[in-house]
Structure formats: C-alpha cells, structure tokens
C-alpha cells in the first residue's frame, strides 16, 4: 500500500510542529524519518497512523483519502518505543489481541487464532514463550512481541516510533538486522522514526531528514550521506569539521594553504564541511593542509586523531580504519599533510543558529577518488 502526504500542517497552539509536508512512499518501501528531537518526525508518524490529526493537508493510503477513517479501521500496525504491551495478558494473548477482538465472521476460530499467534511468535523468534507475561521478558523480547502483535492484524502499513530507543546498543544492532530481514520477508510498507542516523542509514531504503517541522532532504542513503542538501543535514548525519575559508576564483584559501579546485569564479567567505573520515594523510607535494598531530585515540576499529592546522591553529578531527596504512603517521607531534577527500563548501561562515536565519547556500562539492 503506497502512502501519499499532501501539504500536511500541524500546530500545537502557536508552535508549528509540521509545515507543508509532502511525501510519497512506495508500496513495500522501508523509510526512516530521521531528525533531532522536536523536528516533528513523531508527530508526522502519528498523523499517518491516525493517532493525531493534522490542521491541514491530506493523507492518502493507496490513493484513498483516509481523513474519515478512524485509527481502528486504518489497519496499521503501530509499534511504540516503550512497547505498550498489555501487562495482564500472556505473550500469546498480546499477540492474538487484534484477532480476538474481531466480531462475527471476521473473527477466526479459537484454534486458528492460537495457531496464528504461534506462527507469529515463531516469526519473531519467540516460540515457546507464549505463556509468559511481558514482565518476564527482556526489552528486546518485549519489542519483538509488540511487533508480532502489530503484524497479527496483517497491517497494510507498519509504523514504528523509535522502536529500539529503549534498548541497549548491542540489542539494538541485532534487532536492526532482524527487522531488515523481517521486512524482506513480509514486504509491508514500513516507516520508522529514529534520531539515530546510523540506524536510519543502516536500515532504510530511503531516509527522510526532518528539521524544525520541515523536510530537509529526502533521498537514498547514499544521496543524503554524500550529497547533503544543507549544512544541517551534513551535521546531522555524522560528525563534521567546519573550516572557515576564503574563496579566491577557483580555489579555496585556508590560512596560507591553498586547497582544491572547483568550477566557477568566487570571492568572499565560506565554510568547508568535511567529515573526519574523509581526511587522509597525503604526501608533502600533494594539495592539502599542513598540520600537526595533537593526540590520538584508538577506539577499536577506528583510530581518531585531533590535529591542528599550522597556518590557523584550528583543530580538526581525523578518523581512519585501524589497519589503514596512514595510521602510522598519526603519532602525537608528527607533522603531516592532510588531504580533503570529499567535502562541501557553503557560502556563510558558519551555520546560523536562529531558526529563521537563511540557510547557507551550497557553493560546490568535491570528491577525490584515489587511483
């Protein structure tokens, strides 16, 4: 079932929670709504579900306006961050709730209901725990019960609100893989809300990045990561170095260093956005910045270093895989030449803090591939 949102607006008093949201989700897609808290992502999910009502705009399920369809008739599966399991019911009764409450002919026979519940428990890898109560399960198990319960009514759309937010890091990772597999098996159109960019990038077909009640960017994982539409998106999708530059014709000047070239003829201030992982150690005759290593941290597979740019003194962060051959250069007090492998340049000196300040304009992007 595809979903279309047209010009959705939502206000809480004077506060604009959502303004002019347009979105189309294809049938069977797995979509992440990603954004910082207060960006409106949960409100949007709840409006799609029918748990909240928009002040303007329309929601279409498969081309049909669902404004008049109440929550209980929308056939959506909704999974809450804190599970919302019925504590006084066994796991099996929780899962079969949506079937047991059906009336008349729509209600399957008792044995069918039981069989269906057990099938779902097998699907979420909880066979044999049907007679437990929710209190006797771990957090990850509870969330899988909640998912089985939502799937029991054969929803047209599955909506998950920060489904792994209450779980610890390891369980969260395992459940992500598992949800991805489950989505491949069932093919239900799925939207999930998260503030964890890693989760969104790892799980989703497409990512909707939200900020201040608006959609900042919609795109595939590669698109949003490699071509962020704004500094906000750039910042939000991972750690970022922001380096002030002067723009001279077709190159950038940082202190006394000149770095790479791009099309066009520019003057004025600007800011280079570059991810710590997109910095590499280069040979002294390469184009780049001269810097000195201040300190080095080894955090498992990634080595992180803080280096100071010689000409301006600014600190930038560098990340490398621990087996990378450049890691040998990352020793305190070592001088090196930094090469910017991939970066974006915006016209303002810095990201504006005020909400109404104009977004900095993208000047250009560079992406160097090693031969």
């Amino acid at each position: 079932m595809n979903i279309t949102l047209k010009n959705i607006n939502k206000q809480f008093g004077q506060f604009h929670a959502l303004s002019s949201i347009d979105l189309h989700v294809e049938s069977g897609e797995l979509i992440a709504l990603l954004g910082p808290s207060g960006s409106g992502k949960t409100t949007l999910l709840r409006i799609i579900a029918g748990l909240e009502f928009a002040n303007g705009g329309a929601v279409y399920f498969g081309g049909e306006d669902v404004a008049a369809t109440p929550l209980r008739k929308r056939q959506i599966g909704f999974v809450f961050q804190h599970y919302a399991l019925f504590k006084h019911m066994t796991v099996r009764d929780n899962v079969s709730f949506g079937l047991r409450i059906r009336k008349g002919d729509a209600r399957p026979s008792k044995s069918d209901i039981r069989q269906r519940a057990d099938e779902l428990l097998e699907l979420v890898q909880l066979s044999g725990l049907g007679d437990r109560y929710p209190h006797q399960l771990s957090g990850g198990q509870r969330q899988r019960v909640a998912l089985a319960r939502a799937l029991a009514i054969e929803p047209k759309v599955l909506l998950l609100d920060e489904p792994f937010g209450a779980l610890d890091a390891k369980v969260r990772k395992e459940l992500r893989h598992w949800l991805r597999e489950l989505h491949q098996k069932t093919g239900v159109t799925t939207l999930f809300v998260t503030h964890d960019q890693e989760e969104a990038l790892e799980l989703a077909d497409r990512v909707v990045i939200m900020s201040g009640g608006k959609i900042a960017q919609i795109g595939s994982v590669d698109e949003v990561y490699e071509q962020p539409a704004s500094p906000m998106v750039f910042d939000f999708l991972g750690s970022t170095n922001r380096i002030p530059v002067e723009r001279h014709g077709n190159h950038l000047v940082i202190g006394t260093d000149k770095i790479a070239i791009y099309e066009g003829d520019h003057t004025g201030h600007g800011t280079v956005y570059v991810r710590p992982g997109d910095l590499r150690v280069a040979s002294p005759d390469d184009v780049g910045l001269d810097a000195i290593v201040r300190n080095v941290q080894r955090t498992g597979p990634i080595v992180r270093a803080t280096v100071a740019i010689n000409s301006t003194g600014q600190l930038v962060y560098v990340e490398m895989p621990h087996l990378h051959h450049d890691v040998q250069h990352l020793l305190p007090q070592q001088s090196l030449r930094l090469r910017l492998m991939q970066y974006s340049v915006y016209d303002a000196e810095n990201t504006p803090d005020g909400e109404d300040a104009p977004e900095p304009v993208l000047i250009g992007r560079e992406r160097l591939r090693l031969a």
Partner: protein, 289 residues
C-alpha cells in the same frame, strides 16, 4: 532459622520488634479482649444470641448495605477518578479537594446533613416522597450515608494507578482494531482491578464499621434499619457486656473473612506481576536479545 538474607542495610530486627509490639498494643490485644469477654458465655448462649432475629437482621443490614455502597462507590469512584485524571475543567482543584471532605468531616455532621436533605420534608426528600420513595429512616438512607463516607477511599486508591496508565496502551488497542468499549473492558479495567479491589475493600470495611453518620439517617428501627454497631452500643447501655462483645466478635470474624476473600481476589488479579523467582532466572530463548 534465618529470617532474612544478610543485608547491607541494618535495622531489620529493630523495625520488626517495634512493629510487633506496636501491633500488639494497638490491634491484637484489644481484639483478643473482645473474644475473651465473649468466652465468658457458653457456646449455647453465644449461638442463641447470634441466632436471635434482631442480631441477625442487624448483621445482615450492616454487611449488606456496606457491600452495596462499596460496589456503587467502586463504579462511581472510578468514574470520578477518570474524570480527574483525564480531563481539565474549571474548578477542578476545588472539586478535587472536596473529594477528601468525607475523610475530615465529623461523620455525625454528614449524617445530620444527609438526614435534613432526604427526610420527608427535606430539599430532596420532599420531591421523592410523593413518588413513594422513602430514603431517610430506611436501609436506602443507610446506603446513601455509606456512599458519602466511602467515596474518597475508591477515588484516592484508583486515581494514582490510573494516572500511571500509559496512554499508549489505549492507542495500541485502538490501532489493533479495538472499539472504545473493548479497550476499557479488556485493557484498562484489568490494569485497574487490583487498585479497584483495594478501594472497594477499604470502602466496604469503613461502611461495616460506620456509626456516626448512619444512626442519624437510619431511623434505627429494630429488624428494619438498626445496624450492628448500634446494637452493640444498645447492649452496652443495658450493661450486657458479653452480649455486646458477642455481636462484636461476630462482626470481627465476618469482616476478617470478607477482607481475606478480597485479598485473595487481589492476589489473583495481580498474578501477572513479576515474582522474585522469575526475576532471578531471566528467560533466554531465541537468541540473547
């Protein structure tokens, strides 16, 4: 035998000793006195007293009206708590404070006020009497007084539990296709049942023992509207101490049995709660998630 596992926090023996002495002085010894005094009579005399029609009707009146009033309070008290928890309206805080008034008010004041209202010439009574409905000086009047006295017990025990009920439970039920009524019946009420039973038990216990407010509105006609506590007082005034304590002992046993039953119901409605054993051995199946 060890009474408790070794704990880093001291104070168990002191606390337990204090509790036992306190309970003995305040509760156990006086109650034992009731049975001792009753025991001055032989079995035959005790049975004769208990089988007399006046005692039987007083006991059944006391327990019957208390049960009916507690049941009505359980329903309406839950409704009141629901309105306080879920909705905002002008004067809410004032109404909220008024709920507690029956706790604080001398019960005789309540009795006199209710009698004035519901008597044949009272504000309410004058409209009901032409319809053939008599409230004051009948068992119905007793129930009204007990409703007044018992309401805060239900409201105040149910309210905090209701406040803690996640709204998401209702949302989850609705998203699964449940109607409002199904959500209330299958999701909300079972979660509230333990606290509802506690409120019911408190209101009932209070109703059985209530004296001050009831004697004004009841009219106190033997066999019709004479409650057991009043009968005890009457026996005392006749210097029939053993007779009084016999009725008292009967009330004590009956009340104890009923509270025991309610406690059992509560344990049953709480059966899904974690037991410590279940906590001690986490269940691992289908991976370590």
């Amino acid at each position: 035998m060890r009474l408790k596992p070794k704990s880093a926090l001291p104070g168990f023996h002191l606390a337990l000793g204090y509790t036992l002495i306190y309970l003995s002085l305040i509760v156990l010894i006086p109650l034992a006195g009731v049975f001792l005094k009753t025991a001055e009579l032989g079995w035959q005399e005790i049975i004769d007293i208990l089988r007399s029609e006046r005692v039987l009707s007083a006991l059944s009146l006391s327990f019957g009206t208390a049960l009916i009033a507690a049941a009505l309070n359980a329903f309406f008290g839950t409704l009141v708590a629901w309105v306080f928890v879920r909705y905002d309206f002008p004067g809410k805080r004032l109404f909220d404070a008024m709920i507690d008034l029956p706790f604080a008010l001398p019960t005789a004041v309540a009795g006199i006020a209710l009698t004035a209202l519901y008597a044949g010439n009272g504000w309410v009574g004058q409209w009901l009497e032409p319809l053939g409905i008599k409230i004051a000086f009948t068992p119905v009047g007793i129930i009204i007084a007990l409703l007044f006295i018992g309401l805060p017990f239900v409201v105040r025990t149910v309210e905090p539990v209701m406040r803690d009920l996640e709204k998401e439970l209702e949302e989850a039920a609705a998203s699964l296709g449940a109607s409002r009524w199904q959500t209330i019946r299958l999701v909300l009420l079972p979660s509230l049942l333990p606290s509802l039973l506690t409120g019911f038990a408190l209101a009932f216990a209070r109703g059985v023992g209530e004296y001050g407010s009831v004697i004004f509105i009841a009219g106190n006609l033997p066999y019709v509207s004479e409650i057991a506590p009043l009968l005890i007082v009457i026996r005392l005034e006749e210097f029939d101490y053993a007779g009084a304590t016999t009725v008292a002992a009967a009330m004590l046993v009956l009340a104890f049995v009923m509270l025991l039953v309610i406690n059992g119901l509560q344990a049953w409605s709480n059966r899904h709660k974690v037991r410590h054993q279940a906590l001690a051995q986490p269940i691992q199946a289908g991976g370590a998630l």
